[in-house]
């Protein structure tokens, strides 16, 4: 019994961690949807949803219930297997990066030996990251690039011209802006000297700037613009331009399948917000906090976690703000901007960074 418990203990810990992280992210995402409707309402001089619960706080759950109980229509001429696969791919690829998010600093001051059966022996720290992998940046980029399939396959399998056009536009846009996004991250990776997300945060803490946004302001702006295109948000929401394409790649999807795409879009927004926070705004780091709390203690970790979530929420708000402000690009403008302006600028930024880092290190 005891040995069984000892074998199962890491799995239980990981299961709890995964549950907490996924649940936390999905709750934030659900309330991003509500916040989007509220903030858009304020920007446009309306009130926004306010019927379900006080100030409409129960609106996300009402929406979810509605999605579950809607009729699930499947187009007759669709390619069934791919049609069912596409929303799953989209949401899975959106959710997978959660495991590498650096939610906060590791908790090192707690003595875990109080756990029964000697389970706490040998545990020195509790990292607030589920999987600390060496290549976190590449992992996030790779998984999000696989997410293109969800949209491309959805557009193709629906067997509808609007869906196909939306899927094609979306994939072309995501592939084009992925390059600029990757190139804009390179500068940060070189300054940080690592591809590990926590490592990049520590590099920022140890650098004289504290935040990499200061030396990499060009990279930050490129990353932010490319992130809007990657998540198909206004002003780059051509894949679902409702005046031209009805609803783009998810025109033929209804009920819970549409909800999966919808969630995937918002989780992707969360992912790029986390990446902007970690790469450019110092992640969970709060300057001067180590003077108030002991580094590695629980309050230190909690305040850092709150700072992390706050920075991410600022970016989520920024998305909504831009959506309420800017009109949509035309497709050729989008492509010209991505390939002829953003990508060369990102490469130039990379080259300048290479030269500066080389001379600083030598």
């Amino acid at each position: 019994m005891e040995s069984l418990l000892k074998t199962a203990f890491p799995f239980i810990v990981y299961a709890i961690a995964l549950l907490l992280a996924f649940q936390g992210v999905l709750m934030i995402v659900a309330y991003t949807v509500l916040a989007e409707r509220k903030v858009l309402g304020w920007i446009q001089g309306r009130i926004g949803p306010n019927r379900v619960g006080p100030w409409g706080v129960l609106q996300p759950f009402a929406d979810l219930l509605k999605f579950i109980f809607k009729e699930d229509l499947v187009p007759d001429k669709s390619t069934k297997f791919v049609y069912f696969l596409a929303p799953m791919v989209a949401l899975t690829c959106a959710l997978l990066p959660i495991v590498v998010y650096p939610f906060g600093p590791p908790i090192t001051t707690v003595d875990w030996t109080f756990l029964p059966y000697g389970l706490g022996e040998g545990i020195r720290q509790l990292p607030l990251t589920i999987a600390q992998i060496d290549v976190g940046v590449l992992y996030v980029l790779g998984i999000t690039s696989v997410g293109v399939y969800g949209i491309a396959l959805a557009g193709w399998s629906s067997n509808s011209k609007y869906s196909l056009m939306g899927g094609l536009r979306s994939s072309a846009q995501m592939i084009s802006y992925e390059l600029a996004m990757g190139a804009s991250i390179l500068g940060v990776v070189m300054l940080g000297g690592t591809l590990d997300l926590n490592g990049i945060i520590y590099a920022q803490i140890n650098s004289p700037f504290r935040w990499f946004i200061i030396p990499q302001i060009i990279g930050f702006v490129i990353f932010l613009i490319a992130a809007f295109a990657e998540t198909n948000r206004v002003p780059f929401d051509l894949p679902e331009a409702e005046t031209e394409l009805v609803a783009g790649f998810h025109t033929e999807y209804s009920a819970l399948k549409f909800a999966l795409f919808f969630m995937a879009e918002y989780v992707n927004m969360f992912t790029v917000s986390v990446m902007s926070t970690v790469l450019f705004l110092g992640g969970w780091y709060v300057p001067g906090l180590s003077h108030i709390f002991e580094v590695g203690s629980i309050p230190y970790a909690l305040v850092s976690l709150a700072a992390f979530v706050g920075k991410v929420c600022f970016f989520l708000f920024f998305y909504i703000w831009v959506r309420g402000t800017l009109p949509r690009f035309r497709f050729d403008q989008l492509m010209n901007f991505g390939w002829k302006f953003l990508l060369p600028l990102a490469i130039a930024n990379t080259i300048v960074t290479i030269v500066v880092v080389y001379f600083l290190n030598s």
Binding site: V135, I143, Y149, W156
Partner: protein
């Protein structure tokens, strides 16, 4: 123990995807199966302590190359693959080549079993980003540079081959070419060829 279970899980997934890749008549299903193979392989790389290679496998093969393949299949609207009626001799050739591959595989199994059972000195840092970068930009710098130039040439070649010129631009290009070739005979040949 756990890594063995994981290996059989991912290897089984890879083989299943590979079989479905070969057996499906619909080219799009084959392409999706190939993506499955790449993802399973990259999971195996992770269990072999090579996270960088795993990430690059996903990023480049699953994320970039297969997207192009899927695009082409989607846009060309290919029919389902039918059994070949002509070129029947290719079946025999394929069977022969497959047999050679099978024999080779069994020979590798045999050689591994016969090899003296010394413990391999597992260097945990080999698959890490740092060691790969250091190897690429010191010991293997020249091959990396050559491959980089080759790839750049391929990209530029591809762009030039598919570029459609406007009629006025095309005329300019042709006139330049004609001026360059001042000899009469060659000029006529060039015109006829056009």
């Amino acid at each position: 123990m756990a890594s063995n279970v994981l290996f059989y899980l991912f290897a089984g997934f890879a083989i299943a995807c590979a079989l479905s890749l070969v057996y499906h008549r619909n080219p799009l299903y084959s392409a999706i199966s190939l993506i499955g193979v790449f993802i399973a392989l990259s999971c195996i790389y992770v269990t072999l302590a090579a996270p960088f290679i795993a990430a690059v496998q996903i990023l480049i093969y699953a994320g970039a190359i297969m997207v192009l393949v899927v695009f082409v299949i989607m846009l060309l609207n290919l029919d389902e693959d039918r059994p070949l009626t002509r070129l029947k001799y290719l079946y025999a050739l394929g069977a022969g080549l497959g047999l050679i591959l099978l024999v080779q595989t069994f020979f590798i199994f045999y050689a591994v079993m016969r090899a003296p059972n010394h413990t391999v000195n597992v260097d945990q840092t080999v698959g890490k980003t740092l060691s790969i970068g250091q190897a690429m930009y010191s010991e293997y710098l020249l091959p990396v540079e050559i491959v980089g130039v080759l790839l750049l040439m391929a990209i530029i070649g591809g762009v030039i081959l598919v570029r459609r010129l406007e009629p006025t631009q095309l005329r300019l290009v042709i006139n330049e070419e004609l001026d360059r070739r001042n000899e009469g005979q060659e000029k006529d040949d060039f015109r006829i060829a056009l």
